[in-house]
């Protein structure tokens, strides 16, 4: 095939017609404080993992709320559960329990798939 020096780019647009709310609803039930997040980034600014990895709790919350499950699985492994983010959160989100609940439900899911 001849090379024309260009490729077709992948579609970067988020498809919000197919949002899955299952995980968001589950976390809201097990840790209701997640609904209070206002994306201020205090958590990510204080995070000891975020300096050397791409981890951002603020982004994680958005991903949960938008149902981007695929990204969440890898993200939650980066957290060391140190809880600094809990101390700085101005909305009192129990950040550590959000991660814990995510790990619980996503690990269970994994086992079921195996």
């Amino acid at each position: 095939m001849s090379k024309f020096g260009f490729t077709i780019l992948k579609d970067q647009q988020l498809d919000y017609d197919n949002l899955s709310r299952d995980l968001a609803l589950h976390i809201q039930k097990t840790e209701p404080s997640i609904s209070s997040c206002m994306s201020c980034g205090s958590c990510a600014g204080s995070c000891s993992a975020s300096r050397f990895t791409q981890f951002s709790f603020r982004k994680l919350v958005i991903n949960i709320q938008r149902g981007n499950d695929k990204q969440i699985v890898n993200e939650i492994q980066k957290c060391m559960l140190c809880g600094k983010c809990m101390l700085v959160c101005p909305r009192g989100v129990n950040t550590r329990n959000v991660i814990y609940q995510l790990r619980k439900v996503l690990n269970e899911k994994k086992h079921h798939e195996v």
């Binding site: 980034g41 101390l87 101005p90």
Partner: protein, 344 residues
């Protein structure tokens, strides 16, 4: 019309404006104020948003409009207010008690005590100051760090003591956003080579010409706006402040050394008013500001007959809102007096 007596608690702008309207209608007024001079917080301020007008102009106008017949009791603390024979008796640290037909709470606000946000280092690090202190620095032409040098870089931290469950203040203090923009512009006017960064969560430019001021800050003064709440601050060896936050729009953590960090402190109900509010059993909201009888319909009345509220003791307000609220309270008081007269 029967001449009645109104006791106004607080000699800030809301108390003064209510006094003007009420006395114009022939009522007798006594203003109680804890301070030496009238004018409350506005008397401590230099320039006002959004038009950079001198606050002293406003105050002079309000004071000049007051008739001489008004009784002013400054440096006075009220101890108790009692209901007696349809009157209110005001016991203060003065010898004589004051008898009034109505009481107007215009006791205003206190700024948030920034030491309560210990992780921000106010009172610990020399170069962490409040917006009040910055206002005074600029007013006195002493825009310098604690070490006496000219700040090359300044961080303005929004929402200090506001929108923060950790200090039990879930509400927005409203005026701090535009104050930060105003003060950032003043810094650039005083010292054009200084870099100014505003750390915000949301910019709430709610009033007329506020948005334009924000735009001016961007276009004319190159002030930078970083969307992220301060996570922690620490002091470097050279006494500069290390700011840590997330640049949420880029999704990456950031650190920045600044020569001066300014905390935009929010509003809380005036502490001096709290014991009186409790004694009189006035209702307060979960924000601890006084609740009026009805937030929409009767914003200046309370559940207690003859007790009225005006200004920032019912929540954060800017100057025009406060003055309007005071006029509205004066009208409420006058119609209450009409009702009393019709009954008899």
């Amino acid at each position: 019309m029967l001449k009645r007596h109104v006791a106004i608690i607080g000699g800030g702008i809301s108390g003064l404006e209510a006094a003007r309207v009420l006395s114009k209608s022939g009522h007798e007024i006594t203003i109680f104020d804890a301070g030496e001079k009238l004018g409350g917080h506005v008397a401590q301020w230099d320039l006002l948003f959004p038009n950079m007008r001198k606050s002293s102009e406003i105050l002079t106008a309000l004071l000049n409009q007051l008739p001489k017949s008004i009784h002013i009791l400054s440096k006075t603390t009220i101890k108790n207010i009692e209901r007696f024979n349809g009157y209110y008796v005001i016991h203060s640290d003065r010898v004589e008690n004051v008898l009034a037909d109505a009481v107007l709470f215009a006791g205003g606000f206190d700024t948030f005590d920034a030491q309560r946000k210990e992780e921000y280092g106010y009172g610990i690090y020399d170069n962490v100051i409040t917006s009040i202190e910055l206002e005074n620095k600029i007013k006195d032409h002493r825009f310098i760090t604690a070490q006496g040098t000219k700040p090359k870089r300044v961080a303005m931290i929004h929402c200090v003591g506001s929108r923060d469950e950790k200090v039990c203040n879930n509400y927005c203090s409203r005026v701090c956003c535009v104050t930060a923009v105003k003060q950032a512009i003043e810094i650039k006017k005083t010292s054009p080579e200084t870099e100014v960064f505003c750390f915000y969560m949301d910019l709430r430019m709610f009033g007329r010409h506020f948005e334009e001021l924000y735009r001016e800050a961007q276009e004319k003064y190159g002030i930078q706006f970083i969307r992220g709440r301060l996570s922690e601050a620490s002091e470097a060896q050279d006494k500069t402040i290390i700011v840590k936050a997330e640049d949420t729009l880029l999704g990456k953590p950031l650190k920045m050394n600044v020569d001066l960090m300014v905390l935009m402190v929010g509003m809380e109900l005036s502490k001096a008013l709290v014991p009186l509010v409790e004694k009189m059993q006035l209702e307060v909201g979960d924000d601890r500001f006084i609740m009026p009888l009805d937030e929409q319909l009767y914003p200046n009345q309370t559940k207690k007959e003859g007790v009225f509220v005006a200004g920032t003791c019912t929540g954060p307000k800017n100057i025009p809102e406060t003055l309007n609220d005071a006029r509205s309270a004066a009208v409420s008081i006058m119609s209450y007096f009409d009702q009393l007269s019709n009954k008899n």
